[in-house]
Amino acid sequence: MENILSILVFFPLVAGLLGFLVDKNSIRVYGIAVASIEFILSLWLWMLFDTSNAGFQFVEMIPLVPDFGISYYVAVDGISLFIIIMATLMTLIGIIALNIEKNIKNLIITLLFLEVAMIGVFVSLDAIIFYLFWEFSLVPMLYIIGAWGGERRIYAAVKFFLYTFAGSLIMLIGMLYVAYVYHSVSGAWSFAITDWYALVLPFEVEKYLFWAFFIGFAIKVPMFPFHTWLPYAHGQAPTVGSVILAAVLLKMGTYGFVRFSLPMFPDASVAYIMPVAILALIMIIYTAMVAYAQEDMKQVIAYSSVSHMGVIIIGTFAMNAEGITGSIFLMLSHGIVSGALFLLVGSIYDRRHTKLMSEFGGLASVMPKYALIYGIMLMASVGLPLTIGFVGEYLSLVGFFKVSPTLTVLAGTSIILGAVYMLTLYKRTFFGPVTNDANKKLMDLDGKELTALVPLVAIVIWLGIYPKPVLVPIDNSVKALTSFMHEKAHTPKAKATILVSKTTREVK
């Protein structure tokens, strides 16, 4: 399977176009089938993936505009592999759990197109192709929020689109400038990221490019103070939109840092650890507080996402294999856990048509299965050991501790503040007597919801106890990344900060 990546990218596109021909009543089955095949394909990719090879695999390169060095250039390594699998998984789960009747055909086709864009972003190694997929991912999401959203859906959708679009334009300027510099150094045009890696830039240039890329990624993550589109988008989006937004789309930002900023600008990345870390700290602490003040369950989880993304940023900028591996693992775990939490909020919203915590109370006695799964996801979200949430959070923090113990202690307050808002949410919703009559006859989770949620619970526990099959490939690629960065860095500070690890491991 030489071109499994192209199949992975374009299968949902073809299937989505064919979907227009499918009858409205069977579109749900069709969507589940397509998403399952895509998920199985991604698992197959994992099977074929050589876990001991830290470099790029399944490389495909077709020149598109040879004069400007633009080509269709895709490949995966340990860093992107699992994010792709998570994207296909969450799309599948999102479609299974879909509970919308209005225009369902359009919705499912849109989701398939969104899947194309998401996978495209994570496999692209050509900046132009990457940028195309990156921007293309906005359109389906704009449509999903704008067409199936809540009351203020238009405002939320437009804000989401314009905000992230403005950021990515700045990133585009950065990309064009890198290509220009590459041209003036080597005399040839190239937009291949691997070519750009080899480009050693003076610090003065790196500095500006770092911030140009930073703005594009930071808005996507979203980092404080660029985060305000997120609560609106989540608040208004339908459940499936929130699931995919939180699970996959936000990861594009943090993935961008690992794929572009770190290897291309190692010196600037090291030089600006402090400002970035301080923004991340504000994200962690401040949004945890904001989450605590929320009255709407979904907003709590939306703000908690921002808070957790802060820990991911901290891990990414740890500049050692422990932290970066941890941050990538945390991207996966946050995707699974926040996706599941949004699904859970969606379930209760379908029943009561409200997400206000004050409307609930005592749900644990009415809906025990729901309370159990919610409880497991809550514990994973606060980073309990032996759940998926702990591994990434612990590694991210341990990595950044090498850089700055003080800031790590502050970032570590996320384990306290996270417990505060999550447990408060759980207490207000699930504990106490059932006071509201409307809650007395609520149905517990049905078969469809359980089908969507139980696999996620299984993953949460499996990867919490035995993360090795996922951690080792990530770690191998990350070690290659850190040693490359160490080689490339030319300022003494960066040389000293970027750690190279000596250990190598294999998955047995």
Binding site: Y292, P368, Y394
Partner: protein, 634 residues
């Protein structure tokens, strides 16, 4: 032998999962029987391991890899050595008895199956904690017991929040959250300790850490010691993180027994004992630990003096005894701390389970002012609680006498006379409050309404199950020398100086004297029944003590409320009015620019032509200026 390690560790987990399958169905006695039986299996395995460690030596097994990244590799590894096997045997023994007891206690509860699932999971977490061979494995258990305590304290989650004079509002779920969050605060400290160890020693395995910690800079060891102790403070409820322990009394009584005797609060002491090679390098931190412990000992005892809640009195006594353990460990007498830990576990679980019997008999009434005269109807429970209280008071020849007295001797031997004096006073207070509680509950006249309760003794098998605890509480002191030789093969042997040996009998006499006078004073005051003294109860010191030094209210006013309002401020003002308003403001500026310039678009051609002419003129002017300026430059 390896298999035995796994059996001892995983039997409770199997029981827990088994019971979990029945979690949502109505009561099924099989869950209680299976979990108790599996716990017993675990106990037998631990006992065999104890024998093995005694005769052969420690066992170290490595199950599988857990986390690996960079140069870090953390396995699931388990060590069964003198310290952990002692803990394992104690934990499984007490837990088995508590499981059996719970079969009777939870008989009519509709969450019966769920309860046993949680209970066994709790034991499993504690076993992970004590058996792990590295710090992160310990942390799994550390957080695991935190979650299980959350589940169990909040077991009766359906109860509403009740406003009380001493607390802002309290309910099982509130207390559960408080316990979890307080523990998390301390866990952060512990995590920082783990980070420090990793980045300075490159490993988290106990043996490697302890072997290489010596040459480390003293400052670093100091911080490692402090941060690990912060972790221990949360789990062992040391001041200022102590409030959760008394509030945890909202949970079912067997849970309180488990938390206090076996599975949770002792974890902090265990950590300090386990990390003794680190603390030996930093005597200053050890001294600090001893001071904190001593303070907590008297602080908690003073609150127990006036409390009217049967379970809270026992909870404060635990706090106080934990203070003793920390004092011993801090002064370097690790085996003494461990000995007191084990002895305390026996009599404290007995005390709690006895209190559970009383509570059951009294229809969940906990106010000892509303009891009295129960010894007629509950002879066995009276006997158990009497024995346990005598042990707690430290009367010869019961277990508590030996352990507590040795701690006092250690304090004397170290020439820390202040610590000795305070612990000595506390011994008197302990005797007084435990017998105040016994006399008020069992002696005197009946002070409850017959309509409220019909006290009766509990089931036979429950009473029989308590016999091992009572026996051990009585005779365990006799094993002190064996215990010492056994544990000091791993722990530093602490020897008293000649001088202390010389005057040991005097110390014993003084300590016994104050304990006995405490009991006598309690008898004079309460032996014949309750004589309330309004003036005393309204006096300031009494009110301060019965309000727990106003600390819960203080925490509410200083931390909870301001945090809530700061959060609200962050959301409504900072996030919405500043950050988001800025974004919307930028959007607004662009929009209004468009709105204003739209007027140019009149639709009238001649207006357009005017704009065009003006624009052309402007361009000419700019070109002219640019020309002039470049000319000037040249």
């Amino acid at each position: 032998m390896e298999n035995l390690v796994y059996i001892a560790l995983f039997a409770p987990l199997v029981g827990s999962i088994f019971a979990a399958f029945y979690g949502m169905s109505p009561k099924n006695i099989i869950t209680g029987i299976v979990t108790s039986a599996l716990l017993f299996v675990s106990f037998v395995a631990s006992a065999i391991l104890l024998n093995h460690v005694m005769t052969v030596g420690p066992i170290h097994v490595r199950m599988m890899d857990w986390i690996m990244a960079g140069d870090m590799l953390i396995p699931f590894g388990f060590i069964v050595d003198q310290v952990s096997v002692t803990m394992m045997t104690m934990v499984t023994l007490i837990s088995t008895i508590i499981h059996i007891y719970s079969n009777g206690y939870m008989e009519h509860d509709k969450g019966f199956n769920r309860f046993f699932s949680y209970l066994s999971l709790f034991v499993f977490s504690m076993l992970i904690l004590v058996m792990s061979d590295n710090f992160l494995g310990l942390f799994i258990g550390w957080e695991g017991v935190g979650v299980c305590s959350w589940l169990l304290i909040g077991f009766w989650y359906h109860k509403p929040d009740v406003t009380r004079d001493i607390n802002p509002s309290i309910s099982p779920s509130w207390a559960a959250n408080e316990a979890f969050i307080m523990n998390r605060i301390a866990d952060l400290g512990m995590l920082v300790g783990i980070f420090l160890i990793y980045w300075n020693l490159g490993t988290l395995q106990y043996d490697e850490v302890f072997a290489s910690v010596g040459p480390l800079e003293n400052d670093l060891v100091f911080w490692i010691g402090i941060t690990l102790f912060i972790g221990a403070m949360g789990k062992s409820a040391q001041f200022p993180l102590h409030t959760w322990l008394a509030d945890a009394m909202e949970g079912p009584t067997p849970v309180s027994a488990l938390i206090h005797a076996a599975t949770m609060v002792t974890a902090g002491v265990y950590l300090v004992i386990r990390a003794n090679p680190i603390y030996d390098l930093i005597p200053d931190v050890g001294y600090l630990i001893a001071v904190v412990g001593t303070f907590v000992a008297i602080f908690a005892a003073s609150m127990a003096l006036v409390n009217r809640d049967l379970k809270r009195i026992i909870a404060y006594s635990t706090l106080s005894q934990l203070g003793y353990m920390f004092a011993a460990a801090g002064l370097g007498a690790y085996w003494v701390a461990l000995f007191h830990l084990v002895a305390h576990a026996f009599f404290k679980s007995l005390l709690f389970l006895g209190a559970g019997n009383v509570m059951h008999a009294m229809n969940d009434q906990l106010d000892i002012f509303k009891m009295g005269g129960l010894k007629k109807v509950m002879r066995w429970t009276y006997l158990y609680m009497g024995v346990a209280s005598l042990t707690l008071a430290g009367i010869w020849p019961l277990a508590g006498f030996f352990s507590k007295d040795t701690i006092l001797e250690v304090a004397f031997n170290e020439h820390t006379y202040g610590i000795w004096f305070i612990l000595w006073i506390t011994a008197g207070l302990t005797a007084f409050y435990s017998f105040r509680q016994v006399f008020l509950t069992f002696h005197g006249t009946q002070r409850y309404d017959d309509a409220d309760a019909h006290p009766h003794e509990v089931q036979k098998y429950v009473l029989i199950a308590l016999i091992p605890l009572a026996t051990l509480a009585v005779i365990f002191g006799g094993f002190m020398d064996t215990f010492k030789t056994f544990t000091t093969t791993l722990l530093p042997a602490y020897e008293m100086s000649e001088h202390t040996h010389h005057i040991a009998w005097m110390l014993i006499a003084v300590t016994s004297a104050i304990a006995i006078s405490g009991i006598i004073f309690a008898y004079l005051r309460y032996g014949k029944g309750l004589k309330r003294n309004e003036k005393l109860e309204n006096s300031l010191p009494y009110r301060v003590l019965s309000n727990q030094y106003y600390i819960p209210i203080l925490y509410d006013k200083v931390f909870s409320k301001p945090y809530a309002s700061l959060s609200k401020f962050s959301w409504q003002v900072v996030d919405q009015r500043i950050v988001d308003a800025t974004v919307d403001g930028i959007g607004g500026i662009i929009k209004s620019t468009g709105d204003n310039t739209r007027r140019m678009q009149t639709g009238n051609l001649s207006d357009y032509l005017k704009w065009m002419a003006a624009g052309a003129l402007l361009l000419v002017a700019i070109a002219f200026l640019a020309f002039k300026l470049t000319q000037g430059a040249n």
